[in-house]
């Protein structure tokens, strides 16, 4: 459904835009119909930039993003409007998605003006109620209220309901539950899972929380400094991670079933942004000389599971591949 082909985004930074910052570096992956893909990375990994490029809020510097085979950068006028009928985003901070001086349900009115001017008032009311019920909200409790009268979970669900009114097929969910409390965030996750199951919705679930990503997704893409270091089926990436970065992330997640292993995750080297070589080599516990000079390509270690690491060549899998 959505395909990214060597998508790159370079930002000009510094006082006069004199320096270039590669936020996203030749990222390719695809999201199939009815699939949930987790885009996992720490701050500065470029995960949000990717989401924003898919939503066409910012253009890629190079590379293409395809939706049902069409390059989205070529869309104009009606075609672009149709694109937004099928593709919508929900973001991290539900409070800043609303204008506090208007009632929260204004978001629905704007959708009607923009996309459905011919739908009658009564019919539209029914559609809104249907969408609200689909996200588990009682219309009477939320309609006619101001944003400050609703909880973060309710506001986030209203935004998902707003997206559903458009009959979307693809949702970019950027850290949608990181600001919600534990007791409500799981309900929003379950809601996304239901939408996928019942409506065949595809979701790009952008998160820094590995446990949340695992709970919901079919596949995972692990980003580090704008590069995909590992991607594949969720059970494989989490069950048998190859890349040292993925392993470090997984071992750092606080869990309730086991204590952290002693073992030092150094903070040094985090600041350095290598311009060539493997993006992770400064922090990598087992770097090779070649890691400094040459950037590793993604290599398939098992069906659908790709890793970008020079060490892969030395492991069993790498040997098998070379022989086979």
């Amino acid at each position: 459904m959505v395909e990214l082909e060597r998508v790159t985004k370079v930002y000009r930074v510094g006082t006069f835009g004199g320096r270039a910052l590669k936020a996203v570096d030749e990222v390719s992956f695809e999201i199939a119909d009815g699939e949930v893909v987790s885009l996992i990375g720490e701050s500065g990994s470029g995960k949000t930039t990717i989401g924003r490029m898919i939503l066409r809020l910012i253009p890629p510097t190079s590379g293409r993003i395809l939706f049902s085979g069409m390059d989205i950068s070529t869309l104009k006028g009606k075609a672009l409007k149709d694109y937004y009928r099928s593709v919508q985003g929900v973001f991290q901070d539900p409070f800043s998605s609303y204008n506090p001086i208007f009632k929260a349900d204004r978001v629905f009115r704007v959708v009607r003006q923009e996309f459905f001017p011919n739908v009658e008032e009564g019919e539209w009311g029914k559609r809104v109620e249907g969408a609200l019920r689909a996200v588990g909200l009682a219309p009477g409790e939320v309609l006619g209220k101001y944003p400050h009268q609703l909880s973060g979970g309710q506001l986030q669900r209203l935004l998902i309901a707003r997206a559903l009114l458009l009959d979307i097929r693809f949702l970019v969910a950027d850290e949608v539950i990181s600001m919600l409390d534990a007791s409500t965030r799981i309900d929003v996750l379950n809601l996304l899972a239901e939408l996928k199951g019942e409506r065949g919705l595809s979701i790009l679930f952008i998160t820094h929380d590995l446990a949340l990503g695992h709970y919901l997704s079919d596949r995972a893409v692990i980003l580090y400094r704008g590069c995909v270091v590992e991607r594949g089926p969720i059970d494989r990436v989490f069950g048998k991670p190859y890349h040292p970065y993925t392993r470090m992330l997984l071992s750092s997640v606080p869990r309730l079933d086991r204590k952290w292993e002693e073992g030092k995750v150094g903070l040094k080297g985090q600041q350095a942004a290598p311009t060539k070589g493997c993006v992770y080599h400064a922090r990598c516990p087992f770097p090779y000389e070649s890691c400094k000079g040459e950037r590793p390509h993604l290599v398939e270690v098992e069906p659908g599971h790709l890793v970008a690491c020079h060490r892969i060549g030395e492991t069993e899998v790498g040997k098998c591949r070379r022989q086979g």
């Binding site: 007791s183 409500t184 995750v265």
Partner: protein
């Protein structure tokens, strides 16, 4: 006992009346104990933490007492609290990265802070450098402005500054929340290191993330709607929680290895009661799956097993 809190009540004054954010808290923290303070937003955990160091309007002291190393802390009196603040009780505030004065180099900022408290900064310099090493910061940061440091570095600077005078009690308010997982782990381990090196005698770590507490805390105190719900040794709270709220909260956390298709987790229906006019009796009653008539009466926060206290009629039944 490093810290003993008895019946502490702190409300927020608003035009519509008092918001009872902390409504009767009694607990203690032992020597060398790291106590985790957990709960959802608005449960009063930050109010509790802040009231122990700087109670300022609209916060209002209503009642109760606080003993630190046996001495009463005059938390209701800002002036009289001054000698205790920073020296005896210190805090790493929420969003510590924004706590540094942007117009001062870190070194000067520290010097001024110490001199304001009559401490010679020159004597402390070797110790300061040792502690910067401990949090993996180069001594160069002393010559830098806050803007030159990343968020995580500023956070560690604040951690070092807040504990420089070896306070008896350190309150760490959501210090790991805005960090990436790998940094989060290191910062959490540093907090334990501060205790192990005896920079602080005991610590209250405030967070909404129970899985972090499971890694570093000796005990966990769970709050709900301005009241204490449960306190106990970490292992007991995580493995054998007795308060229905703690039970539901823990079971709603997704763990790595859990997928929605295999095991569907559920949240806690409903939302916390308004604290402007909180209901009588147990404040969790309306959301509680096992509530019964008696819950109209307020349950006492009492010991079930040594060190394990619960405020629930069912648990005491």
């Amino acid at each position: 006992m490093a810290l003993k809190v008895e019946g502490l009540r702190v409300y927020y004054q608003t035009l519509r009346g008092d918001v009872r954010a902390l409504d009767g808290a009694s607990f203690s923290v032992g020597d060398g104990e790291i106590m985790g303070l957990a709960g959802e937003s608005g449960c009063g955990k930050s109010t509790l933490g802040r009231s122990l160091i700087l109670l300022k309007p609209p916060m209002k002291y209503v009642g109760g007492e606080v003993l630190l190393d046996g001495d009463p802390l005059p938390i209701w009196d800002r002036e009289r609290m001054a000698p205790y603040r920073y020296k005896k009780v210190s805090i790493i505030p929420q969003q510590a990265m924004n706590a540094l004065n942007p117009t001062r180099k870190i070194g000067r900022l520290i010097r001024e802070l110490l001199e304001a408290r009559g401490v010679s900064s020159r004597d402390l310099l070797p110790e300061l450098k040792r502690r910067l090493d401990l949090v993996e910061l180069s001594h160069e940061v002393l010559k830098m402005y806050p803007i030159e440091l990343s968020g995580g570095m500023k956070q560690r600077v604040v951690m070092v500054i807040s504990t420089l005078l070896d306070p008896s009690l350190l309150i760490a308010d959501e210090v790991t929340s805005a960090l990436d997982v790998s940094t989060q782990k290191r910062v959490a381990e540093m907090l334990v290191g501060f205790r192990d090196h005896k920079f602080v005698r005991s610590m209250i770590v405030i967070t909404h993330d129970i899985s972090i507490l499971y890694q570093i805390a000796d005990s966990i105190l769970v709050m709900y709607a301005g009241k204490l719900a449960e306190k106990g040794p970490t292992e007991a709270i995580v493995r054998r929680p007795r308060h229905p709220y703690t039970q539901l909260l823990i079971s709603s956390l997704p763990e790595i290895g859990v997928r929605h298709t295999e095991r569907r987790l559920s949240g806690i229906p409903g939302s916390p009661p308004p604290l402007l006019e909180p209901p009588q009796g147990c404040r969790f009653r309306e959301r509680c799956p096992v509530a019964f008539d008696r819950c109209r009466e307020e349950p006492p926060f009492e010991e079930l097993a040594p060190g394990h206290l619960v405020a629930c009629w069912r648990a005491h039944g």
